[in-house]
C-alpha cells in the first residue's frame, strides 16, 4: 500500500478523544458515554466500537488477543487481529494469560482475568431499555432518574409468558447499584465474571456511538426477582469431548455419523491449553 497509515490507524487527536470518553466511562461505572465514533476499515456492527477502544489504547508493548464467539480463529477475530497487527506491528497471542489487551465478541474467557489486563467487549445494542422505550431522548431520562421499572418489567413479562426469564444472552445487569447496563451479548454464564473483576472491562458500541465500563472490583448484579433468581445456562454434567472440562460454556455440536449431539468448550484457547497440560502430564508420567 502506498500510503502509510498512522500507528494504530487513527491520528493521535482521535485516540486522545476516545481515551477521554473512556476515562469518563471508567469514572461512572455502567454509564453510557457518547463519543464521536469513527468509521473503521471494518463494517459497522462487526466490532468497530471494540476496535476503536483497542486501537486508542494499544501501545508498542501490548500483547493483543482477539476472540469472536470464544474462538481465536473465527474469521472475524482473525480479521480484526490482522488489522491491529498491520497498523501496529505488535505481538498477538491466543493465550488469555499472556495478553494485556483482549478484544472479544460475545464471550469472557474461561481463564480468570487478572489485574492489569483490559477486556474490550464489542457491543451491538448498548441500551438495555431500548426494547422497552425506542427513543434515545427518553431512555437518557430514565437512566438519569434511575427509573428501571422497564428493565424488570421485560423480565416479568418473560416469566408470565414462558414461566422463566428468557433473555438469552445480553441479560441486563445493575452496575455499582446505580446504572442498569447491557453486558453485550455474552451468555448469562459469563455475567458472574463481570462482578468484582480484577481486570478493567470496557464496552464499545461503534454504530451506536457509546463507550461504557466496568472498572476493576465493581459490583455487578444480574437483574432478577427474589423468587425467580437469575440462572445461567446449564450444561448439566456434560463434559468437553476434547479436553473433558465441565463447568464451562460449551458449544453443542451435531455428529452426523452417529446422529447425536456432543459438547465442546466454546473457549477454544482454554480447551487447547487444557489438552496440552494433559498431554504434558501424561508424558511426564510415562517417563
Amino acid at each position: 500500500m502506498q500510503i502509510n497509515y498512522n500507528f494504530a490507524f487513527f491520528d493521535e487527536g482521535s485516540k486522545r478523544e476516545i481515551r477521554r470518553a473512556t476515562l469518563k466511562a471508567i469514572a461512572i461505572p455502567g454509564y453510557q458515554v457518547p463519543f464521536a465514533s469513527r468509521e473503521m476499515p471494518i463494517a459497522r456492527g462487526w466490532g468497530t466500537g471494540g476496535l476503536q477502544l483497542t486501537l486508542s489504547l494499544v501501545g508498542r508493548d501490548d500483547i493483543v488477543k482477539v476472540i469472536d464467539q470464544g474462538s481465536d480463529e473465527s474469521v472475524n477475530a482473525v480479521s480484526i487481529k490482522k488489522l491491529v497487527q498491520n497498523t501496529t506491528d505488535i505481538r498477538t497471542t491466543d493465550e488469555t494469560a499472556q495478553a494485556t489487551l483482549i478484544q472479544s465478541r460475545h464471550r469472557i474467557p474461561e481463564i480468570p482475568l487478572r489485574a492489569g489486563q483490559i477486556l474490550v467487549l464489542q457491543v451491538p445494542m448498548p441500551e438495555p431499555l431500548r426494547m422497552y422505550e425506542p427513543r434515545e431522548a427518553e431512555t437518557k431520562k430514565l437512566h438519569a432518574e434511575k427509573e428501571y421499572s422497564g428493565a424488570w418489567l421485560m423480565l416479568f413479562e418473560q416469566i408470565m409468558n414462558y414461566g422463566s426469564m428468557t433473555t438469552g444472552a445480553d441479560h441486563p445487569v445493575m452496575v455499582h447499584d446505580r446504572y442498569v447496563m447491557a453486558p453485550s451479548p455474552i451468555p448469562k454464564f459469563d455475567n458472574a465474571k463481570l462482578n468484582a473483576s480484577e481486570a478493567l472491562i470496557l464496552l464499545g458500541a461503534g454504530r451506536e456511538k457509546k463507550i461504557y465500563a466496568v472498572p476493576p472490583y465493581t459490583k455487578v448484579v444480574s437483574l432478577d426477582f427474589e423468587d425467580y433468581p437469575f440462572e445461567t445456562e446449564s450444561f448439566e454434567d456434560r463434559s468437553c469431548r476434547l479436553c473433558g472440562s465441565t463447568g464451562v460454556f460449551m458449544d453443542e455440536l451435531y455428529d452426523d455419523v452417529s446422529g447425536t449431539a456432543y459438547f465442546q468448550c466454546n473457549d477454544t484457547s482454554y480447551c487447547l491449553e487444557r489438552m496440552n497440560e494433559q498431554s504434558w502430564r501424561e508424558g511426564a508420567e510415562s517417563r
Binding site: 431520562k141 427509573e147 421499572s149 422497564g150 424488570w152 418489567l153 416479568f156 426477582f225 427474589e226
Partner: protein, 281 residues
C-alpha cells in the same frame, strides 16, 4: 365534620398557560380574554387560579365543557405537564409540607409511582397495549420497589378479579380487549400500589351506556372498600351526580362554582351551572 381533618390534597392557585403572554393578558386582575384565549398573543390560559381541597375518603367531581381546563388540571396534578405556577400539597408525602410542583423530577416520579394513581380517558396513555394485563399492573408495583413475582402476580390477579377481568385472560395484552375492559385494567393498574389518591379523567367517556354503568359501579364499590380519595373529571353531570360528594364547576379555566353535589344540582347559582344542570334534565 370533614373540615376538621387535614386535606389529603390541597391545590392552591394552580395556573397553566400555553404561550408567552403579553401586556393585554399577563396581569390576572385585568386580563382580557376571549374565553380562555388571548386574541393578541394567542396564549391559552387553561387553568386560572384553581384552588380546592380534597379530604380523605372524599370524591370531588369536576365538571365543565371540553376546553374548560379540567383535564389540563389533572395532567398538572399527575406531572404529565408542568404547571405554570401554583402549589399542591399531598398529606401522604412528607406530611403535606412540600409543594409537589417544586420537587425534583425524581421525586415526582416517586410520588406518581407510590402515592397516586391515574386513569386516563384514552387507555393508550395509561396502559402498555402490547404487554400482558398483569404485566401492566406489575409495572407500577415494580416501580414502587416490588421484586417478588409471586406477590405481584397475586396482587395483580386479585385486582383484575376485582375489576371483573376473567382469570384466563390476565396474560392477554390489553390491545385485544374492548374499551370497557381496557378501562377496567387501567383502574386495576392505578390501584395496584394502594394509592391514597386516585385521579380519574373522563373514565367513562366513549363507552357504551351499559359498560359505563358497570365501570361507575366498580369505582363506587372500590372507593367504599378502600377508602381512597378521588378527583373525578367528567363533562357528564350524570356521572358526577352518581359518584361525587362535592363538585367544582369549571369554565374557561376557572372554577366558577363549588359546593356539595346535591346543592349544586338542586340550586345552581351561576348562569353557566344552571345551563349545565338544565341540560341534564
Amino acid at each position: 365534620m370533614i373540615q376538621s381533618e387535614q386535606p389529603m390534597i390541597s391545590v392552591q392557585h394552580l395556573n397553566k398557560q400555553f404561550g408567552p403572554g403579553c401586556p393585554q393578558c399577563m396581569n390576572p386582575g385585568s386580563r382580557k380574554l376571549y374565553k380562555n384565549f388571548c386574541t393578541v398573543c394567542h396564549t391559552v390560559y387553561s387553568c386560572q387560579d384553581v384552588s380546592f381541597d380534597l379530604y380523605p375518603g372524599e370524591i370531588i367531581g369536576v365538571v365543565g365543557e371540553s376546553g374548560s381546563g379540567k383535564s389540563t388540571m389533572m395532567r398538572c396534578l399527575y406531572f404529565d405537564q408542568e404547571a405554570t405556577s401554583g402549589e399542591v400539597y399531598l398529606q401522604a408525602y412528607k406530611d403535606g409540607s412540600r409543594n409537589l410542583f417544586a420537587e425534583s423530577t425524581q421525586q415526582k416520579r416517586y410520588i406518581r409511582n407510590h402515592l397516586m394513581g391515574k386513569v386516563y380517558q384514552n387507555p393508550m396513555l395509561g396502559l402498555r397495549m402490547d404487554f400482558t394485563s398483569i404485566g401492566n399492573i406489575a409495572e407500577k408495583m415494580i416501580a414502587a420497589g416490588s421484586r417478588r413475582v409471586s406477590e405481584m402476580e397475586t396482587r395483580g390477579m386479585e385486582l383484575l378479579e376485582k375489576v371483573h377481568i376473567p382469570i384466563h385472560r390476565i396474560k392477554e395484552a390489553p390491545k385485544h380487549f374492548s374499551g370497557g375492559m381496557q378501562q377496567r385494567v387501567q383502574i386495576a393498574k392505578a390501584l395496584s400500589n394502594r394509592p391514597p389518591v386516585l385521579l380519574l379523567d373522563e373514565v367513562t367517556t366513549g363507552l357504551d351506556l351499559s359498560v359505563q354503568a358497570s365501570v361507575l359501579d366498580l369505582i363506587k364499590a372500590l372507593q367504599r372498600e378502600l377508602g381512597i380519595s378521588i378527583v373525578l373529571v367528567s363533562h357528564d353531570l350524570g356521572v358526577v351526580r352518581m359518584l361525587a360528594d362535592r363538585t367544582l364547576v369549571m369554565l374557561d379555566g376557572r372554577v366558577v362554582e363549588e359546593g356539595l353535589t346535591d346543592q349544586i344540582l338542586e340550586d345552581p347559582q351561576e348562569a353557566y351551572t344552571q345551563q349545565l344542570v338544565h341540560s341534564l334534565l
